[in-house]
């Protein structure tokens, strides 16, 4: 009987040793976007997603319905009330898949908003940098960034 008990104990120990105790990382906490009144992704749809392998960044371009429609039409006409938001993250290796890269720390959030008054359409651009979402005050280069964002071809989503 003693032998039986010790065998049972040994088996229990062995099973316990085999159980997997690695911590489970459910979220990609590094890439989390801080909530802020400076931008809002709620209700926005994906226009496209791209990566830059030289810079090691991953970006997703979001837009409201009007922005998505305009982007599919090639942004030939800029109308009012369009919202484009380009989020760019640094990349990191995917712990769950050797062969994949996933977003890491947020690098920037760029927001393009259009507003029409009369016959003119004003295009507003804001760049928020880093996890703190610091507003970039230097306005040089804005025209290029607007052109770049509006020039993105949407991803085929059938």
């Amino acid at each position: 009987m003693k032998v039986l008990y010790s065998l049972l104990a040994a088996c229990t120990l062995m099973l316990a040793a085999c159980s997997d105790n690695k911590p489970v990382e459910l979220y990609n906490t590094k890439a989390a976007l801080p909530s802020s009144p400076k931008y809002n992704l709620d209700g926005l749809k994906v226009i496209t997603s791209f990566v830059n392998k030289t810079k090691g960044t991953a970006s997703t371009l979001y837009g409201n319905d009007l922005a998505l429609k305009a982007a599919i039409e090639g942004n030939k006409i800029i109308a009012g009330n369009e919202i484009f938001t380009l989020v760019t993250w640094k990349q990191q290796e995917d712990d769950h898949w050797f062969g994949a890269k996933i977003p890491s720390d947020v690098e920037s959030v760029e927001v393009v908003k259009t507003a029409s008054s009369g016959n003119t359409v004003a295009v507003n651009y804001q760049q928020l940098n880093g996890k703190a979402l610091d507003l970039k005050t230097d306005t040089s280069g804005q025209a290029e960034r607007i052109k770049y964002i509006l020039g993105q071809k949407p991803s085929v989503l059938p």
């Binding site: 459910l26 909530s35 496209t48 990566v51 392998k53 599919i72 990349q91 085929v156 059938p158």
Partner: protein, 320 residues
């Protein structure tokens, strides 16, 4: 009294042991056949890589199974035989030539990920066959070999044209598919996925795709409320894959749409498939993967099995 009972008790034990022993000997003759069919085309990789794969995988994933005497003792042998049978169906390095080059590549990346996660070689197998264990040094050799197969270069004209053609077709917004294509397990293509929130993106350099993972309202709500372990019933993911289209300045865009894959959580309805309904639809025509064969879900499950602790989900959602 006591001395009278003891021999009787001892005899009972003796009889029981004898019955058990005879039973044990008897079942030795119940032996499933484990043949080694001919090798049609063996895995071709550098010698150092091959040596590791042979040592760690070939007993169950090739036609060159090397059974040790202790593998042949029933009932252990029954388990061994069924592992070999299943193992060869999933992956057989001796019939490597039967796979298309892209599938060969995908199998190698899947295999290394199974090794990294500790799912393969089966821990119960390496516990006895210690020589089959993959050491960190072995793993480095395998990783280096696979990494050396990754080449990133600007897209060629053919890839650009294919993407353009598909885009023009899609952009015209032609009438939506009226009858939804349905996979063999009854899961139909869900066209609304594109209006869901993206929960993450992936650059897959193993197979040159870009991916966006969308979550339906239930999934997004669960993410916000930290209620994803396990995921609630009704949560659905849609993972979309496109071919990579790299331009000259290093930006890689989404090219041709390849497929959309769904995971639908329902721990009762899909209890037999880890609590998830699985489906994949290929090309903009949404051709169900697996055709009429419902066994395609085994492929989904085998690949996701190492993520059991994460409720079988690879994606780590990004909160916002």
């Amino acid at each position: 009294m006591r001395t009278n009972r003891k021999p009787l008790y001892q005899r009972k034990v003796f009889i029981i042991i004898m019955i058990l022993f005879l039973g044990f000997v008897g079942i030795q003759f119940v032996r499933p056949d484990v043949p080694n069919p001919p090798v049609t085309g063996d895995l071709e990789v550098p010698a150092d890589v091959k040596a590791i794969v042979q040592r760690a995988c070939y007993d169950c994933h090739s036609n060159n199974t090397n059974l040790r005497w202790y593998d042949k003792i029933v009932p252990v042998y029954w388990g061994v035989a069924s592992h070999i049978k299943d193992g060869r169906v999933d992956l057989n390095f001796s019939e490597w030539n039967k796979l298309a080059p892209a599938d060969q590549k995908a199998k190698l990346w899947e295999s290394i990920n199974q090794i990294i996660s500790g799912a393969m070689p089966l821990p119960s197998y390496t516990a006895v066959h210690t020589e089959a264990k993959v050491s960190p040094a072995d793993l480095a050799v395998l990783k280096n070999y696979l990494a050396s197969m990754v080449h990133s270069k600007p897209a060629d004209t053919a890839a650009i044209n294919a993407a353009d053609k598909q885009y023009q077709h899609w952009e015209k917004n032609e009438p939506a598919i009226t009858k939804l294509p349905t996979a063999a397990n009854g899961i139909a293509y869900i066209p609304d996925y594109k209006n869901w929130q993206p929960i993450s993106t992936t650059e897959r350099f193993d197979n040159n795709t870009l991916r966006v993972i969308f979550g339906n309202d239930i999934a997004v709500k669960a993410i916000k409320e930290n209620n994803i372990h396990p995921w609630p019933n009704g949560a659905i993911f849609a993972k979309v894959a496109w071919a990579q289209l790299q331009d000259k300045d290093g930006t890689t865009h989404t090219g041709e749409f390849k497929q959309v894959e769904y995971m639908i959580k329902d721990d009762k309805k899909y209890a037999s498939t880890y609590g998830w309904g699985w489906a994949r639809f290929k090309t903009p025509k949404m051709v169900p993967y697996g055709g009429a064969n419902v066994l395609f879900t085994n492929e989904c499950m085998n690949c996701h099995k190492p993520m059991a602790a994460e409720d079988f989900v690879f994606t780590q959602p990004i909160k916002h």
